[in-house]
Symmetry: C2
Subunit: 302 residues, 2 copies
């Protein structure tokens, strides 16, 4: 039984008040897989890159136990590329470049070996592609987790509504939850969004932590107050990766397990923002992860 991750594998170029990068490895599926790799050895990825994508980046994923059989490499084409610049407080950013390239006609082909799937993680993509992946699985996975963003609410509302009905957990940020529901109160927003399909809802609030709703309960995981936040890129995907990675090795999947999964998601996210790009999550030890997860739990222990 394994974790199937679908999403972008791409180039990012990032500028924050603390520095800038050239084209480095980015994309939702990259961050998700790397984060999940600390919890489960069976990760399968479905994504697409161009022939410009360095072999070393694919090896980085493989060295973390990620099966890249489902990573399509399109000869003569270029990888998806995003460039962005963060504002002084790191809470907002401007997109400088978005080149869809190979993503424009991405057809998510699922290798036969990937069919036996416990958890499906739908990284942020066109809702119709996310739905296609669900439809191409012969058996429904035990849990389907979906990420999306405000962009799809603006341009693909109807498709988004259809895909939402197919998933168990939706993971979005507070602004997206407010836009999706039309409610400012996150409690009211959660009720409306769960009526759209997902049985569980995670609302990420960045430096203010994350809320988990479901089974008529609510759980709050704080964010660790950090001395330095270097680069928030990928923090949400890393959170999702820690979340699904933890659940992939969990015997029972219920609200209790999801609470712990949210803590581990937040833990991985906190490592992510301390360095540029994926640098913060490619060289972690289990000891480091456990020590920081304890910090998260102690932070709120009365």
């Amino acid at each position: 039984m394994s974790l199937l991750v679908i999403g972008t594998v791409a180039f990012d170029a990032i500028e924050t008040p603390f520095g800038k990068t050239d084209k480095i490895i980015g994309g939702a599926a990259s961050y998700i897989s790397l984060a999940a790799s600390y919890f489960t050895p069976k990760i399968n990825i479905v994504a697409v890159v161009g022939e410009d994508f360095p072999k070393s980046y694919i090896e980085l994923l493989e060295n973390h136990g990620v099966n890249t059989e489902g990573l399509q490499i399109k000869q003569g084409e270029k990888s998806f590329f995003w460039a962005g610049k963060y504002h002084e407080d790191l809470n907002s950013r401007d997109t400088l470049i978005t080149e869809l390239n190979v993503l424009a006609d991405f057809d998510p082909i699922i290798p036969k070996k990937y069919q036996d799937c416990k958890i499906l993680m739908l990284g942020n993509l066109t809702p119709s592609i996310q739905r296609t992946v669900v439809e191409r699985l012969e058996r429904r996975p035990q849990l389907i987790v979906m990420d999306t963003m405000n962009f799809w609410m603006n341009v693909a509302w109807d498709e988004l509504m259809i895909t939402l009905k197919l998933v168990d957990v939706l993971s979005i940020n507070d602004a997206e939850a407010r836009q999706l529901s039309g409610e400012y109160s996150l409690v009211k927003a959660a009720k409306k969004i769960m009526a759209m399909g997902p049985k569980y809802l995670i609302i990420k609030k960045g430096e203010h932590g994350a809320l988990l709703f479901g089974e008529n309960q609510v759980f709050f995981a704080p964010a660790l107050p950090l001395e330095e936040v270097f680069d928030p890129t990928g923090a949400g995907d890393t959170f999702a990766g820690g979340f699904v990675g933890y659940l992939a090795k969990s015997e029972i999947i219920n609200f209790g397990a999801m609470k712990r999964a949210v803590i581990y998601g937040s833990t991985l996210g906190s490592f992510c923002v301390e360095k540029f790009g994926t640098d913060g999550i490619i060289n972690l030890s289990h000891q480091q992860i456990e020590a920081r997860a304890r910090q998260f739990m102690e932070l709120v222990t009365v």
Copy 2:
């Protein structure tokens, strides 16, 4: 041994997207005393009002066990009056009217009976008046807690620095912590502010909870996700009132006791924002308070 509260007792006129009030009872010392009254029976107040201040409001305080011997009533003068209007999201507001009136030449006279004081709560006021109160106490209280605001950082920096050296706990919001320290990271801000005098620092983040720093530790109390927030006026003072009220009945005052005090401060604050002005905190039962405090603790229980 008692709790001595100094601050404003005043009129507020509040407008939120959900309604508006005429002149109602307001002021930091009113909210602090009312909130603290659920924890400790010995509350002494030092404040000033004009002859326009209704007897019924003074009786409201007295009915909550607040000793108003130190509440000066200035004949022929008018009470401090603030009017404000909240924006749609309730996170920001415009001040419409500020009439200092009796506050302009407030001399905080401390009745003899008030001298035996365990905890001194300095509600938001000119730092020089806050300092005067500390100097007029014959024995230093076991704990001095201070609230302040960005306004004093702008117009009375030097006075503020002197007063900060005299207190044990400073309670401010995140924007104020950033302004006071010149640091965006709250961890860095806390270090700088504690170097200014206070051994403990509370950073209130409104709907995002509160952080407590001190004794080389950090504690985070979440805010309860509420379905309705009606009026945030007085929430910070109510928080402070719950905090000092809880500590006033606590035998030992250390970081552990302060963690629980922050939970009870947050609990009272959550009741405050559910109704207009002080309406949410004048008719609570101990059962209600305990049940909600449990909700706060369960919210983060893994």
